[in-house]
Amino acid sequence: MESFQHLMNGFVVAMSLQNLLFATIGCILGTLIGVLPGLGPAAGTALLIPITFKLEPTSAIIMLAAIYYGAMYGGTITSVLINVPGEAASVVTCLDGYEMAKQGRAGAALGIAAIGSFIGGSVATLGLVLVALPLARFALKFGPPEYFSLLCVGLSLVMALAGKSLSKALIMGVIGLVFSLVGIDPVEGAPRFTFGITPLMDGVRFVPVVMGFFGIGEILLNAEKSLVGVMAGGGKVSSFLPRREEWRISVTSILRGTGLGFFLGLIPGTNSAVASFMSYAIEKKVSKHPEKFGTGVIEGVAAPETANNAYANAALIPLFTLGLPGSPTIAILMGALIMNGLTPGPLLFKQHATFVWAVIASLYIGNVILLILNLPLVGWWAKLLRIPYQALSVIILVFCIIGAYSLNNSIFDIGVMLVCGVLGYAFKKLDFPVAPAILTLILGPLMERSLRESISLSQGDYSIFVTRPISLVFLAITALILASSAWQALPAAIREESKEAQV
């Protein structure tokens, strides 16, 4: 009850005219940033920190938080309309969202994404109020072995994302892991796979890789054709509401997405891309028609979009209660808090209770603003389709260049983006799925660190992963996922072989 008392006080502050205005501006700017390919929430939030310098801390953080979750939704728009994810968490939305748009159902895809995002975000914020401290304490029990095992669950789900070939998905996952190892070894400081190239010492950053694989790769693929008619759905958005039967399916997907996104948001080190990828994989696993995923099924949009917004709100829990940023964007928010003289951590609730509860209350308000802004504006956003693709693709390329460069002011990153663009094009032509590589590129450093810390902790004893109960449970889940995926893949391979033998 004490939490609700604080929350009510927070609402009083958050609903002042000034803070409402900044939350609205933040939502609009965030959505715009999300719409522009190459400018994800991390880059967008970082770009806009300077405009909050002159605001008082509560308004500044309310606005930055609104930019953050606005961008999470905005990323969906380009994923659905032009198959170019605005940020990593929207990568998986392309799979079914773009297909829906091609069938003339862009409105329904964007509509269910907005509704799912609203529900996911609101429920996660409620969870933040109710269970922030106990759940954060539970996540604190995770040592390196538990964390490694949890990441194994995430990576084994890469197999669930496999397209036609299990080995192609696996090898892409491993390639992503190898890319993630480039740079200075975090434990011993030895350079790995850097070949004497100084910028590689900082590692391969995922923003240029994502921009290359998805932005440049997609544009190159479209350039094969005459660059005409690649816009999905021809710009028509008839209705932003799903069909009646789709509501029933979407409700359960949204609920699962909310739970998963909320849970992952509590675990420091994960990110919204993991939430959306895992959510998509789970939907595919539980679906009665997994083969239809990737052809424009609504749960393929509803679940990941809900999960990434639930994650976005829940990820603030470790930041506020433990001072641990869970993702790059949250780390940027943490920087903004520190710049405003506020130190994230358990003392924040004690020393700056008004501030922290006002920000939490603003999350509710922000979710409502986002829903009000986005549902009626779905058609307006879809007008992007009317811009000739030849012109839009050039503008997308310019934004990709800005996005790759601006995160670290590095021209080298533009080169990384170009190389990844050519690779992304080749992978698409050869039917190698690029999503597993992106996922493992993000998870790789965390996975290696927790593996090495675990083995170091046990002084070389590998049984540490199975002697700790939480870790054992995660590993058992991993084994189940792997076994089930292998089982599903095996008969197909055998069938194919016997069919060809008959021919």
């Binding site: 300077p50 790995r192 660059l227 030849q390 050039v394």
Partner: protein, 152 residues
């Protein structure tokens, strides 16, 4: 397609071998019983080799088949792809000496004319807004973009 698959999995096999070789140059085990920098990458390399070998063996058993229709782009498609890659590569080289605005102006003019086939009336405003216009907006937002020798 069988030949293409063999080449691709052959390249991946070589990549796996390279990862293993590079990992062996690093310490496999560190000083405090913990794995060294080469530990994780070594096993990843081994996994790439194992998967590539399995797929190579599989493709060797497959009958020869033609390339799927549309696998290779036509001459115009190839020209467009090479134009985009060339423009990106050129902008990469010119960004430091010329700065963002001038490089992007040339980049946009070239692509809009060669790939988009737009008229000069359309090219100039789009290119201007996408280069100098965006540079202005981002500088207003305190985003540092390369300025080059001319300071623009």
């Amino acid at each position: 397609m069988r030949r293409v698959n063999r080449i691709v999995w052959g390249i991946l096999l070589a990549f796996g071998a390279f990862v293993v070789y590079e990992s062996l140059q690093l310490s496999y085990y560190g000083t405090d019983f913990g794995p060294g920098p080469g530990f994780f990458s070594f096993w990843l390399g081994v996994l790439v080799i194992a998967l590539s070998l399995a797929e190579l063996t599989w493709t060797l058993r497959q009958p020869a088949d033609p390339l799927p229709k549309g696998f290779l782009p036509d001459r115009q498609g190839t020209a467009r792809i090479l134009s985009i890659i060339g423009a990106l590569a050129a902008s990469l080289l010119l960004m430091a000496p010329l700065g963002f605005s001038l490089t992007m102006l040339g980049f946009c003019v070239f692509l809009l004319r060669s790939v988009g086939r737009f008229s000069w009336w359309a090219v100039l405003p789009i290119a201007g807004l996408s280069s100098f216009g965006l540079a202005y907006v981002f500088r207003m937002l305190y985003v540092l973009l390369p300025t080059g020798m001319l300071g623009i």
